[in-house]
C-alpha cells in the first residue's frame, strides 16, 4: 500500500483539518489547545516516519520517491514544524487575529515542504512548492492590523507569483523537450541529446531564477528583507529555515540528479550566484539596525554558502549541503526563539534593544553567542563542520576561488554578529529588569543550543547518517 509510505503527511493533513474546524468553532480566547495539538501532530508524524526508514521504492506512479534523502528531509522538516510551533505559541496568543489558522497554515506548509523533497516528478515538486508558497503568503500577512505585515505579504505574494510562473514555464520547456516530467527518466537521456539545443539552456535559466527566488539567492533576493521584517517574528523564523531548506532539497533533485547532463552549464551559473549571494548578503547585513533585517541578510549569505555545494555538484558537496541544512535549522530556530521573546515582550527588534541582555537573561544570552559562533563557523559548533565540508568539497573539485570567497565572507560576517554580542555583553541595559524565558521558548533555545554543540563535537554519527541518505554516490 502506497499510503503507508506517506503516513506522516497524512497525519499532518488530518490534524490540520481538525484544527481548521476547531478554529472555526471555538472562540479565540479558548484556542490554547491549538499549539499543543499541532505539536502532538508533528511528533506523531515523526514517529510515523520510522516504519519506512531504510526502504527504497517509488509510489503513486513514480511521482513520489521513498529513499534516504526523502526520509532525511522529512525528519528535518517535521523538527522544523515542532520548533516553530513551540516558539509561536506565546507570540500568537497575544495577537488580535485568531491563532487557529496559523497552525493550520504552518502544517500545510510543512506538508508541501515534505513533498518538495520527496518527489522525483517536476509537477509534483511544483505542486509542493505552491503549497508552501501560498501558505507562506498568508502567514507573512498574519498580523492583519499591522501595515508592515501587509506590505510583507503583498510583496512576497506578487514577486512569488511571478517566480512561480517563470518556474512553471521552465518546467514546461523541460517537459516539451524531453517528453517526460519524471526526473529519473530525464536523467537517463543521453548527454548529447540534452546538451545541444538552446531551449534547454533557457529552461535551465528559468528554473534557476524560479528556485533562486524561493530560496532568496542574489539577484532574486529583493523581497526577503521586507518580508522578513514585516512578517510576524515566528513566521520569519519559519521562512529562514523551512521553505529555504525545501527549495534547496528540490534543487538537489533537479540539478545534480535530473539535469546532470547539463552540469557544465548550470555549475558555472551557480558558482557566480554563490559568490555574489555571499558577498551581497554579508556586506548589506553589516549596516542593518533591525535584527530581523540583519538575520534576513544573514540567511541570504548562508544560502550563498550552500549554493557553492550546488555549483560543485559532487557526492561530497551534496552531503555537505545536507549537513549544512541540518545544522542551520537548529541554529536559526534557537536564535529566533530569543528574537521572538524580545519582540513578544515589547523590548524591541533593534540591535540596540539587546543591550545588557547578558545581565537580564544570562543563559539565553550565552546560548545566542553559541548560535552566532556557529553562524560564523568557529570550531566546536555545527557551523564549523557545515562550512568545512562545503569548503573541502569546493577545493577538491577545483573551485579554489569559491572557497577563498567563502573564507573571506565568513570573516566579514563576524562584523555584524559581533555587533549583537557586543550589545548583549558590553553595553549597559536601559532597563535592568530580568527577562524570564517561558518554557516553550526555553525548550527551543535549549534544543537548538544542544544540537549545535552536539553536531560540532560528535558530528561522526550524523555524517554517517547523511552518507546513508546521500542521493549521489
Amino acid at each position: 500500500m502506497d499510503y503507508l509510505y506517506i503516513l506522516p503527511e497524512l497525519i499532518i493533513v488530518a490534524v490540520a483539518l481538525v484544527l481548521l474546524v476547531g478554529a472555526a468553532l471555538s472562540p479565540k480566547d479558548r484556542q490554547g489547545y491549538m499549539p499543543v495539538v499541532a505539536t502532538a501532530g508533528f511528533l506523531a508524524a515523526l514517529v510515523a516516519v520510522y516504519p519506512a526508514l531504510g526502504q527504497e521504492t517509488n509510489i503513486f506512479g513514480r511521482m513520489i520517491t521513498v529513499d534516504g534523502f526523502a526520509q532525511f528531509f522529512k525528519v528535518i522538516f517535521l523538527i522544523v514544524g515542532v520548533l516553530v510551533t513551540l516558539s509561536s505559541a506565546g507570540y500568537m496568543s497575544k495577537q488580535k487575529t485568531s491563532g487557529g489558522e496559523y497552525y493550520v497554515l504552518l502544517m500545510f506548509a510543512v506538508t508541501g515542504m515534505i513533498f518538495m523533497a520527496s518527489s522525483t516528478d517536476l509537477l509534483a515538486i511544483w505542486l509542493g512548492l505552491e503549497l508552501v508558497s501560498i501558505s507562506s503568503y498568508i502567514l507573512a500577512g498574519y498580523r492583519r492590523e499591522d501595515p508592515k505585515s501587509n506590505e510583507a505579504a503583498i510583496k512576497y505574494f506578487l514577486m512569488g507569483a511571478i517566480a512561480s510562473a517563470v518556474l512553471l514555464f521552465g518546467l514546461s520547456l523541460v517537459y516539451g523537450y524531453t517528453g517526460t516530467t519524471n526526473l529519473v527518466d530525464i536523467a537517463q537521456i543521453e548527454t548529447k541529446a540534452l546538451a545541444g539545443p538552446a531551449v534547454l539552456g533557457v529552461a535551465m535559466f528559468m528554473l534557476v531564477a524560479g528556485f533562486g527566488f524561493k530560496v532568496a539567492m542574489v539577484p532574486f533576493h529583493m523581497w526577503a528583507p521586507d518580508a522578513y521584517e514585516g512578517a510576524p517574528t515566528p513566521v520569519t523564523a519559519f521562512f529562514s529555515i523551512g521553505p529555504k531548506a525545501a527549495g534547496l532539497a528540490a534543487m538537489i533533485r533537479i540539478f545534480p540528479v535530473g539535469l546532470s547532463a547539463l552540469t557544465s552549464k548550470w555549475s558555472l551559473l551557480f558558482a557566480i550566484i554563490a559568490a555574489v549571494t555571499m558577498t551581497v548578503g554579508n556586506l548589506t547585513a553589516l549596516s542593518q539596525k533591525n535584527i530581523k533585517r540583519m538575520m534576513a541578510y544573514s540567511s541570504i549569505a548562508q544560502v550563498g554558502y550552500i549554493t557553492i555545494g550546488l555549483a560543485v555538484a559532487t557526492a561530497a558537496s551534496v552531503n555537505a549541503i545536507m549537513f549544512y541544512i541540518m545544522a542551520y535549522v537548529f541554529i536559526n530556530a534557537g536564535l529566533f526563539s530569543m528574537i521572538i521573546l524580545l519582540d513578544e515582550r515589547g523590548i524591541g527588534q533593534k540591535i540596540e534593544d539587546y543591550a545588557g541582555l547578558s545581565q537580564r537573561a544570562p543563559v539565553a544570552a550565552a546560548a545566542m553567542v553559541v548560535f552566532f559562533i556557529a553562524l560564523i563557523g568557529i570550531p566546536f559548533t555545527s557551523g564549523f563542520f557545515a562550512k568545512f565540508f562545503i569548503f573541502a568539497a569546493a577545493v577538491q573539485s577545483g573551485f579554489m576561488w569559491l572557497a577563498i570567497i567563502l573564507a573571506v565572507n565568513s570573516a566579514i560576517s563576524v562584523g555584524y554578529y559581533y555587533g549583537v554580542v557586543k550589545a548583549m555583553y558590553l553595553d549597559a541595559p536601559k532597563d535592568a529588569s530580568p527577562v524570564k524565558v517561558p518554557r516553550a521558548l526555553g525548550a527551543v533555545l535549549l534544543t537548538g543550543a544542544l544540537a549545535t554543540l552536539a553536531l560540532g563535537v560528535f558530528s561522526e554519527p550524523f555524517i554517517r547518517l547523511i552518507g546513508l541518505a546521500s542521493l549521489l554516490r
Binding site: 483539518l17 481548521l20 474546524v21 478554529a23 472555526a24 468553532l25
Partner: protein, 117 residues
C-alpha cells in the same frame, strides 16, 4: 508528419466554415439599424451605467467558495463514470476528498462568509 497535416486541414476548414456562414449572412440580410438594436446585449435588460465600476470585495470571497463546488464537480463526474471499476477503494477515496472540501465549506460558513451584510 501526416497527423499535423490533418490538424492543418481541420484548422483551415474551421476558419472557412465560420467565414462562409458569417459572410453569407452579411451579404443576404437586410440592414435597418436603429439605436435599440445597436445597444450591447445584456440578457434583454436595458443597459445602464458604466461597466468599469468597482465590485464589492465580497464577490471575490464568493468566487473562492465557488471553487470548492467547481473542483467537486470536475472530479465527481469522471469518478461516477468509472465507479464500478474503482470499487470500494474508489468510494472511500472520494469520500475522503469530499470530507476535505466540506471542511473548507464548514469553515467558511462558520466564519460568516456566506452572509451578505
Amino acid at each position: 508528419m501526416l497527423s499535423w497535416v490533418n490538424v492543418a486541414i481541420f484548422l483551415i476548414a474551421g476558419v472557412v466554415v465560420v467565414a462562409v456562414g458569417l459572410g453569407m449572412a452579411w451579404l443576404l440580410r437586410p440592414s435597418y439599424p436603429d439605436p435599440k438594436k445597436l445597444d450591447p446585449y445584456e440578457c434583454g435588460e436595458v443597459p445602464f451605467g458604466d461597466a468599469q465600476v468597482r465590485f464589492n470585495i465580497r464577490y471575490y470571497i464568493f468566487a473562492l467558495i465557488f471553487v470548492v463546488f467547481d473542483i467537486e464537480s470536475v472530479f465527481i463526474y469522471p469518478w461516477a463514470v468509472l465507479f464500478r471499476q474503482l470499487g470500494v477503494f474508489g468510494f472511500f477515496e472520494m469520500l475522503v476528498f469530499l470530507v476535505i472540501l466540506v471542511v473548507g465549506l464548514v469553515y467558511a460558513w462558520k466564519k460568516k462568509v456566506l452572509e451578505w451584510v
